[in-house]
């Protein structure tokens, strides 16, 4: 499969994912794969295909969570990142942007810095396990992009996250 084909498939998968995945932010995404997306290819690249983005998101797990005001990886977080490492090693055409996020309990600037710490913690772990650093970039959204919007720990826990967002062609 050449790169162009893969990019088209990726676009359509992301477009499908956008319907259910609140972490897709049209407009602020680093790589605007959703732009001009069509809605074909439902059968290909689905969640059952282990090389698909949907598989990465749903089966491997695209995110790790953090305790309040920390950027330390939990045991479960490391397991998920081990899975991400295996997937990224197998699917070497993909690059990724790791998005760091914070919950709303914190000042704006500090949370941008905290999200950057979290994203880098994930990046450093993936690199230590063998993912080339040239395939990874980091960005922090601080508390600007919550996926859960209640003001309780149940929501905060899901917002304190680092999400590995797959992209194509960035390392070229």
């Amino acid at each position: 499969m050449n790169m162009i084909t893969k990019a088209v498939l990726l676009t359509s998968v992301l477009a499908l994912a956008a319907c259910s995945n609140k972490s897709d932010f049209v407009g602020d995404d680093v790589v605007d794969l959703n732009a001009g997306a069509n809605t074909g290819f439902e059968g290909t690249g689905g969640a059952n295909d282990p090389t698909s983005v949907a598989f990465f998101q749903q089966s491997v797990g695209d995110r790790v969570l953090f305790e309040v005001d920390t950027s330390t990886l939990t045991g479960q977080g490391r397991l998920i990142l081990d899975g991400q490492t295996r997937w990224l090693t197998t699917n070497s055409d993909y690059t990724a942007i790791i998005e760091g996020h914070a919950d709303e309990q914190g000042t704006r600037e500090y949370n941008v810095a905290l999200g950057e710490r979290r994203a880098n913690e994930v990046r450093d772990y993936l690199v230590s396990k063998g993912v080339p650093s040239s395939r990874l970039r980091v960005v922090s959204y601080g508390k600007e992009r919550p996926i859960e919007i209640c003001s309780q720990e149940g929501c905060y826990a899901k917002n304190r996250r680092a999400v590995t967002v797959l992209a194509a062609g960035l390392s070229g």
Partner: protein
């Protein structure tokens, strides 16, 4: 901005500036002790031409709103008036204003010729039967009529309180729309009281924390236009913007100008570490001011430009520190229970405003520059990001309400802790930055 060029300030009676401090007996000393607002009257201005009629009441209304909005003054209801002001130069019937307990009286006249508008006013101490200061006249355009009213109110405020005023000022902020998980943000600018909103950017890219230049003509802010947070500078007049800091592989945010407007201090995050840098705006060259693995952010200059107050979690939690503007060793000044962030040096130099998190609540507070005399002015689910009025008497900040329907608004509070109020904005609003007094 055309107003700035067109506005000429003309003293009807030429008097030295020092005379403005000659106030007679009527004076509000702004201290912790002031609780009872001073009653005053500001009848409709006298229209001196047919075209001026529509401005006669509007001007007086804005003057009243400015003065009463401080919490230091209270308007005497107009239906209590015994006499009316029909001539700007006729002698004031003090007895009529005394009878309704108006301690201060503001009279004005307005003249309109084409698109030019001129306003003159006088302030009286009703109980001693004297004029406070002398009459003044401002000239501008009909379009800028609200600024003329703010100028009048500024003079009244300054003459009665002895303080520098702040009404003829603007606020740049982030206008917000939509729920928390689909929030759209764009830069907006407005008068300090929420009027005359103008949008400076679209909402297609996330923007954060605009900050005025010392002269109010430029705004620093953070935008995700490239997908990564970067610092931009925007000319308010032309709305032209350019990226200021764009090192690849890093994120830049939390910018603020130095008092001379030539330098920008900001945070740069790279490799999991956020430090403070200083950039020369003209050359683009930057100097690192902090090092070490802690988060160092939210820097703010002292008014003389010699020092920088900032927050760091080097002690294990967010606290406030002061260092030289050249970096080097920093001294911690916050020692209370809780986390301290977003420090901002007051324009008078005497206080630091900050955000404090303690026991699940957020507060806006002030402390002296050595950390002493900490006072919390507000408490809520989420208050943050203080900005100072040009005279250092009032603090504006963001208040976000909790829950899935939560939204952000701008509030202001006097540094005494009194007069907490919401600034009217259309839609949500956050991250205010107060301009200097306009000229």
């Amino acid at each position: 901005m055309t107003l700035r060029v067109l506005m000429a300030v003309v003293a009807i009676c030429v008097l030295p500036v020092i005379a403005w401090a000659q106030n007679g007996p009527l004076r509000i000393e702004i201290t912790e002790g002031v609780v009872e607002p001073m009653p005053f009257a500001a009848p409709n201005f006298v229209p001196e031409s047919g075209a001026a009629n529509e401005f006669a009441e509007r001007l007086a209304r804005v003057v009243v709103s400015d003065l009463a909005g401080t919490g230091l003054f209270r308007e005497v209801p107009r239906d209590a008036y015994i006499s009316q002001i029909t001539s700007f130069d006729a002698p004031v019937q003090y007895v009529d204003w005394k009878a309704i307990n108006a301690q201060a009286l503001v009279t004005g006249a307005v003249n309109v010729s084409g698109s030019n508008l001129s306003v003159k006013f006088r302030v009286y101490d009703v109980f001693s039967g004297t004029e406070i200061g002398s009459g003044l006249q401002f000239a501008g355009t009909t379009q800028g009529w609200r600024r003329m009213a703010h100028k009048v109110a500024d003079q009244v405020y300054a003459r009665i309180t002895g303080e520098q005023p702040y009404f003829d000022s603007r606020v740049v902020y982030v206008s917000e729309q939509g729920p928390k998980d689909k929030r759209r943000k764009r830069l907006a600018i407005m008068d300090y009281d929420g009027a005359n909103v103008q949008y400076l950017t679209g909402s297609e890219h996330l923007v954060l924390a605009p900050r005025f230049s010392p002269t109010g003509d430029r705004v620093l802010y953070t935008s995700y236009e490239t997908g990564f947070p970067r610092i931009y500078v925007l000319e308010v007049g032309s709305v032209k913007r350019r990226v200021l800091e764009s090192q690849d592989g890093s994120m830049s945010f939390a910018p603020r100008f130095s008092p001379d407007g030539r330098t920008v201090v900001y945070s740069l995050a790279r490799g999991g570490n956020t430090d403070i840098f200083r950039m020369d705006v003209a050359s683009g060259s930057s100097v690192r001011l902090t090092s070490g693995p802690a988060i160092e952010t939210a820097p703010s200059y002292s008014p003389d430009g010699s020092r920088i107050v900032f927050e760091s979690d080097r002690s294990g939690s967010q606290q406030i520190y002061i260092m030289s503007a050249n970096g080097g060793e920093a001294k911690r000044i916050s020692f209370g229970k809780g986390r301290y962030g977003t420090p901002v040096w007051s324009p008078r130099g005497d206080l630091i405003a900050f955000t404090k998190q303690s026991k699940g609540r957020f507060h806006i507070g002030v402390m002296r520059t050595d950390g002493s005399e900490e006072r919390l002015l507000t408490a809520s689910f989420l208050d943050e990001g203080p900005t100072w009025s040009p005279n250092g008497r009032v603090i504006m900040f963001t208040r976000e309400t909790q829950g899935s329907a939560g939204s952000a608004s701008l509030y202001s509070v006097d540094i005494s802790g009194r007069n907490l109020k919401r600034i009217p904005t259309e839609g949500g609003a956050s991250d205010p930055s107060w301009s200097p007094l306009q000229r």
